[in-house]
């Protein structure tokens, strides 16, 4: 039984999502309860799995017991074991959080939205675990389809942004299929490890380059890397408030992981054109970091600020990939982990403020901290982490990125990191200023105040994100050690 953990992590949210509608028809809270329970179980299982990977090394799980190139395989190395823990935790928190945003009068709809979120989690977890390129495509489609739906729930604007995202996302998925088609045409296999072995024999440079031309835009679109980010701000802004932390926090990271898998695990650094790809990636991320921050400065809607800041933060992650030393890659993944909680946390705060006061305009946030000290504490911590103030998670990922850049003598990247964090500081301190300093505006609470400032299902995510931001910062070495178990072999 214990050896089935990798697949159970993905299966539990799936089964609960499939049952959710039927259960909701039986009793209005049963479906949501099942989803919550399964997400929690999946989080616990992924923790156990992380422990297993750390002590026992990489897990290969052959589904249907067909050996690697013939069947589909889950490969859990230390890298995606850590990411799985993080993503499943965020999934669980989002499910908890989302409950507050449903339409009370229509339980079926609430159940359906909950099922969508659970399927999004399934897709994300599956994409993280899989070791098969086509299986990755299927999970990618699950992730995207549920994301289209969740984005479209955010009112009429949401529908339009979802439609645009759908068109662009389908182009990305098609490009991805083409890319793996080209790779398949020269290797005849779909398994990542097998593909690596065949490609390592050499002589496939042309095909690999062609595939790279398809794959970089494909992942770029999905992770909203700079020149391909067009769909992202409006989609993030208008997504359904309940599931927004998951969409903004996690959804962009998984394609980034897939991109890492292709560039470093399948192509490897011996590939002749890998340098060109990395330089290209570096240019994208540098401009993304600057562009995202500059655009975020001009916004007043907090959701838009955070959406544009995501463009910049994605730049940090792809910058780590572009530098390519193990330490920089570790930095990129640490930033990925940290950013899940930072961006997720910021959107938890946004959601909480919206839940209580019904506003998203930062000009109306005056002195909100008097009424919601906990939320504003997280808001501040996450904002500081985005800027990169120690001892939050954001500082340490920046540290590893800068260290990697210094190791490669890419001084320009260090300069860009400094400039970017200063630009971040400009708009995040503007936000903090609004929350703490501005004179109070007449915000009326929409709900009768309870004993706590918020319902428990919002407070738990907020507190856990707060702890995670500092925990990831102070105990980053443990995580980096685990990440390096995998990354040592793959970097430049």
């Amino acid at each position: 039984m214990i050896e089935n953990i990798p697949v159970l992590i993905v299966l539990l949210p799936l089964c609960s999502a499939l049952l959710c509608l039927a259960l909701t028809a039986v009793s209005r809270n049963l479906g949501i309860f099942a989803v919550k329970l399964s997400c929690l179980a999946s989080f616990v299982l992924s923790c156990i799995q992380l422990q297993m990977v750390v002590t026992g090394g990489t897990i290969h799980y052959a589904i249907g017991n067909y050996a690697a190139p013939y069947g589909i395989e889950f490969v859990i190395d230390s890298l995606n074991a850590v990411l799985l823990v993080c993503f499943s935790l965020m999934g669980f928190l989002t499910i908890l959080f989302a409950e507050n945003f449903g339409n009370e009068k229509r339980p079926m709809l609430v159940g359906a939205a909950c099922a969508e979120t659970a399927l999004l989690i399934t897709g994300i977890l599956g994409m993280t675990s899989t070791g098969d390129v086509f299986n990755l495509y299927v999970f990618l489609e699950i992730t995207s389809l549920s994301a289209y739906c969740l984005i479209s729930l955010g009112g009429s604007r949401g529908v339009v942004s979802a439609y645009r995202y759908m068109l662009v996302g389908t182009v990305a998925a098609t490009l991805y299929l083409l890319g793996i088609g080209v790779l398949y045409s020269v290797t005849g296999t779909l398994n990542m490890g097998d593909m690596r072995e065949i490609l390592d024999q050499g002589g496939y440079d042309g095909a690999m380059l062609t595939a790279m031309c398809f794959l970089i835009p494909a992942f770029g679109i999905k992770m909203a890397l700079f020149p391909f980010h067009g769909w992202q701000p409006s989609a993030y802004t208008h997504a359904e408030p309940g599931s927004r932390p998951l969409i903004t926090g996690v959804m962009g990271k998984v394609p980034a992981l897939a991109m890492f898998r292709f560039v470093y695990c399948i192509y490897g650094t011996d590939f002749r054109f890998v340098r060109i790809g990395l330089i290209l990636l570096g240019i994208f991320s540098v401009f993304g970091m600057l562009y995202g921050s500059l655009m975020a400065m001009g916004q007043t809607d907090i959701r838009k600020i955070l959406a544009y800041s995501s463009v910049a933060q994605m730049g940090y992650i792809s910058l780590g990939f572009a530098i390519g030393t193990p330490i920089a890659l570790a930095g990129a993944f640490l930033h990925m982990l940290g950013h899940v909680f930072m961006k997720g946390g910021l959107f938890f705060c946004t959601g909480a403020i919206r839940y209580k006061f019904g506003t998203v305009d930062i000009n109306e946030f005056g002195r909100i901290y008097k009424k919601m000290p906990l939320t504003c504490g997280l808001l501040t911590a996450a904002a500081l982490s985005m800027i990169g103030i120690p001892p939050t998670a954001g500082f340490f990922s920046k540290w590893y990125l800068a260290l990697g850049a210094a190791g490669q003598h890419e001084w320009i990247y260090i300069i860009i990191l400094v400039i970017s964090s200063l630009l971040n500081a400009v708009y995040f301190f503007r936000l903090i200023e609004k929350v703490f300093i501005r004179q109070s505006s007449e915000l009326r609470t929409r709900w009768e105040s309870e004993v706590l400032e918020l319902p428990l299902t919002i407070i738990i995510p907020v507190v856990i994100c707060f702890i995670a931001i500092f925990g990831l910062g102070l105990f980053n070495v443990r995580i980096v050690d685990i990440l390096l178990m995998t990354l040592e072999g793959v970097g430049l």
Partner: protein, 256 residues
């Protein structure tokens, strides 16, 4: 302007890989990489391992059964999404555009003739249904499989609501109910895997279904169970989407 640039870029992007076509295998070459490495294994072992003469079926529901499970989930997801997206209650159905509206006679009936209902309902639909069931259970031997069967069943429903008045179709399933039913399809699939786990095997390892029969039979049972799941999922989804879309739009024979 933007569009022109994009089109030019596209033309370039078509022409540039033209040089790179040498990297792709020659079409029809039996010795090319995709036709040798993994493919040969499937062709040689499909009958023996999976008890399925149709190799495509063997690939999709046995070797790569996990993909298919999520493919069915995608179908369910699409149905669910449509239900959610079209959940808001519009004040009234969108009227058909003037270019598509037809005149009605004094009795309120549309003046054009429709297909003969009797023929449709009594002849064509049963045939399609029987064919669907044949395709479902024969998927491993001949062409077809769960997906096609599900789509055929969906088409039966389609004919049904096209021919009979859509307010009173023969089998009437509300969209949310249909989506809930569609969910059971992938669930059957997933549970098949759980059964193999309980039998001591890995996920979807049909050999380990805890039944006291020969392993080839076990594969047949597993494949059939899975195909049934796919059928339910796909049929349910198509019915869901149809219902959800039809609900919104007014037709000529509606009683306003």
């Amino acid at each position: 302007m933007r569009k022109t640039i994009t089109v030019i870029l596209l033309i370039i992007s078509v022409l540039v890989p033209f040089m790179a076509f040498d990297v792709l295998p020659v079409i029809g070459d039996p010795q090319s990489a995709p036709n040798t490495h993994v493919s040969d294994y499937y062709i040689e072992n499909a009958i023996e391992e999976c008890n399925s003469p149709n190799m495509v079926t063997a690939v999709i529901v046995d070797y790569r059964a996990f993909d298919t499970m999520f493919e069915t989930t995608v179908m369910f997801l699409a149905g669910l999404s449509v239900v959610i997206i079209l959940a808001n209650k519009p004040k009234r159905r969108i009227p058909a555009h003037s270019s598509l509206r037809r005149m009605k006679d004094a009795g309120g009936r549309p003046i054009y003739k429709t297909v003969n209902k009797d023929v449709m309902i009594s002849v064509i639909e049963p045939v399609i249904l029987i064919y669907a069931i044949y395709v479902l259970f024969h998927g491993e031997v001949s062409l077809g499989g769960g997906f096609q069967a599900g789509a055929l069943i969906g088409m039966t429903y389609l004919l049904d609501i096209m021919v009979v008045k859509r307010d009173r179709p023969i089998f009437d399933i509300p969209k949310a109910r249909a989506a809930a039913i569609a969910g059971f399809g992938p669930l059957i699939y997933a549970l098949t895997g759980i059964v193999t786990i309980l039998g001591g095997g890995l996920y979807l390892e049909y050999n380990k279904i805890p039944l006291p029969i020969h392993h080839a039979e076990l594969h047949s049972i597993g494949i059939t169970a899975v195909e049934i799941g796919v059928t339910i999922g796909v049929a349910g989804t198509i019915i869901t989407i149809l219902n959800a879309l039809m609900e919104r739009i007014s037709f000529d024979d509606d009683n306003d």
